[in-house]
């Protein structure tokens, strides 16, 4: 299959690590469109939702830009979607960052603060234990290190969508997979070769 016949969109809502995600996709030989157009996003074959910063602010930006509705629609259509870091956190029901904020509610559960007793933010390379078997993990050994930088973590109400777990004072959900929705607390675009392999696996899965 030719890489250039499929459309990849990176959602632009005025925040996040958009350039890094685009650089990674270009490195893998894909062309991606950075866009805040709902129609362009809904026409794409695979979509990335980047995220850096605070969960509450991110939710506000997503809502103000109309991107929250677009993300909900993508999930309803079961369109392949990869959400990163705060992009993962906003998929849950609510976050306790800077007070209580409602989130998208795609994955039932809460976003909580990492427990005290460890340095926060959780910053650096940590292992992801794969708890499901999925083509997105092809050629990525179990317990591979990925790059994290966050102070809050997703706590799903049940484990049905949990795909990866990471230990940092507690064991938390570092990766979710639900139908065609993929989400990582870590940053594949900053995780060296294993991160690039994960994006490549996702796109092969999504575009085939």
């Amino acid at each position: 299959m030719k890489k250039d016949t499929k459309k990849i969109a990176v959602i632009d809502y005025g925040a996040g690590n958009i350039g890094s995600v685009v650089n990674a996709l270009v490195k893998l030989g894909y062309q991606a469109t950075v866009t805040d157009s709902v129609s362009a996003i809904l026409k794409a074959d695979a979509v990335f939702l980047p995220g850096v910063g605070a969960g509450g602010d991110t939710m506000q930006s997503l809502q103000a830009s109309g991107m929250a509705a677009a993300v909900l629609k993508l999930v309803e259509l079961r369109r392949p979607l990869f959400a990163i870091c705060v992009g993962m956190q906003v998929l849950l029901s609510s976050t306790e960052e800077d007070g209580e904020h409602r989130c998208l509610g795609i994955i039932p559960g809460k976003v909580r603060k990492l427990p005290q007793g460890q340095k926060v933010p959780h910053m650096g390379w940590n292992q992801v234990r794969q708890v499901v078997s999925h083509p997105v993990f092809n050629n990525i050994p179990d317990n591979t290190d990925f790059y994290f930088v966050h102070s809050y973590y997703a706590h799903p109400a049940d484990s049905s969508a949990v795909a990866g777990l990471t230990e940092y004072g507690i064991e938390f959900c570092s990766m979710l997979i639900k139908n065609n929705l993929f989400a990582t607390q870590f940053h594949p675009e900053k995780s060296g070769e294993p991160g690039l392999i994960m994006y490549s696996n996702f796109l092969k899965y999504a575009l085939s």
């Binding site: 690590n17 350039g19 890094s20 650089n23 990674a24 270009v26 490195k27 850096v52 910063g53 605070a54 460890q118 340095k119 926060v120 933010p121 959780h122 910053m123 650096g124 390379w125 940590n126 292992q127 290190d145 790059y147 994290f148 930088v149 966050h150 102070s151 230990e167 940092y168 675009e189 900053k190 995780s191 060296g192 070769e193 991160g195 690039l196």
Partner: protein
């Protein structure tokens, strides 16, 4: 388990990598884009670029370097040197940096940390501190030096770091003025004092001459990451050798 990070530092001036002793006597050590790609392939956990020229022209060059590096290096990039305003920070982040390190500008205008953290997130805001062992009574222990280590401030290092973390610094890049460039080991009393003081990660910098020094900064200094320049630049040790050494001593590190 969170691994300890090994971070090569590229001191850049006029678009070239240089390394000096106590901030002077520079020697050319190459092209920053090439160096960065080399370290990435070797397994560096992160890269730090310090623009030690930091003139307005040098800043344009740095933006250019960061753009090129970000297209081929997929680990976090931290850039510092001469960043004074929110616009300076935004420009370098847009070029592809993940974090900025702020030194003199934060001392002169601590509000920059608060404002930067509010706009970009505290994980973007790295406070760089040049700490010199001090006999000054007001700055007992270590004194903050600014302007590339040339200017004493009379400010106590520990007090300043505590204040800066309160304002929004998400990580501390801690350079020992006394140890930097001498390759005789980090100031691990300093590293430990800061690491135990604040809840944000501490990068130990200044003084690495051997792999044992890296180990000491992590084990005795309790740092979360070690930064080194010359031992990697001149190929005395590879990043991989450093990590294997640390792993053999029981330090958790990322080995590809």
């Amino acid at each position: 388990m969170l691994t300890k990070r090994v971070i090569p530092c590229l001191d850049v001036t006029d678009g070239r990598v240089v390394k000096g002793t106590s901030f002077t006597n520079l020697r050319d050590a190459g092209d920053p884009v090439e160096q960065a790609a080399f370290y990435y392939r070797e397994g560096a956990d992160e890269l730090v670029f310090l623009d030690i020229g930091a003139t307005p022209e040098a800043r344009d060059t740095m933006v250019n370097v960061v753009e090129k590096v970000a297209r081929q290096v997929f680990v976090p990039l931290c850039v510092g040197g001469g960043l004074r305003t929110i616009d300076d920070i935004r420009r370098i982040l847009q070029a592809g940096a993940d974090k900025v390190s702020i030194n003199t500008a934060a001392v002169q205008n601590p509000g920059l940390l608060r404002e930067g953290a509010a706009i970009f997130g505290r994980q973007c805001m790295v406070l760089a501190v040049d700490a010199r062992r001090s006999v000054n009574e007001n700055a007992a222990g270590w004194e903050v030096y600014t302007h590339g280590g040339r200017k004493p401030t009379g400010i106590n290092v520990l007090k300043w770091i505590e204040e800066a973390v309160g304002l929004g610094a998400g990580e501390i890049l801690l350079t020992s003025w006394d140890a930097d460039g001498h390759r005789a080991g980090y100031d691990n009393e300093l590293n430990r004092a800061v690491s135990e003081l604040v809840a944000v990660p501490v990068i130990a910098s200044g003084g690495a001459g051997t792999l044992e020094h890296l180990y000491q900064a992590l084990a005795l200094g309790r740092a979360d990451a070690v930064l080194a320049a010359s031992i990697f630049h001149y190929r005395e040790y590879s990043i991989r050798q450093a990590k294997e050494y640390l792993a053999a001593k029981g330090i958790p590190v990322r080995l590809q």
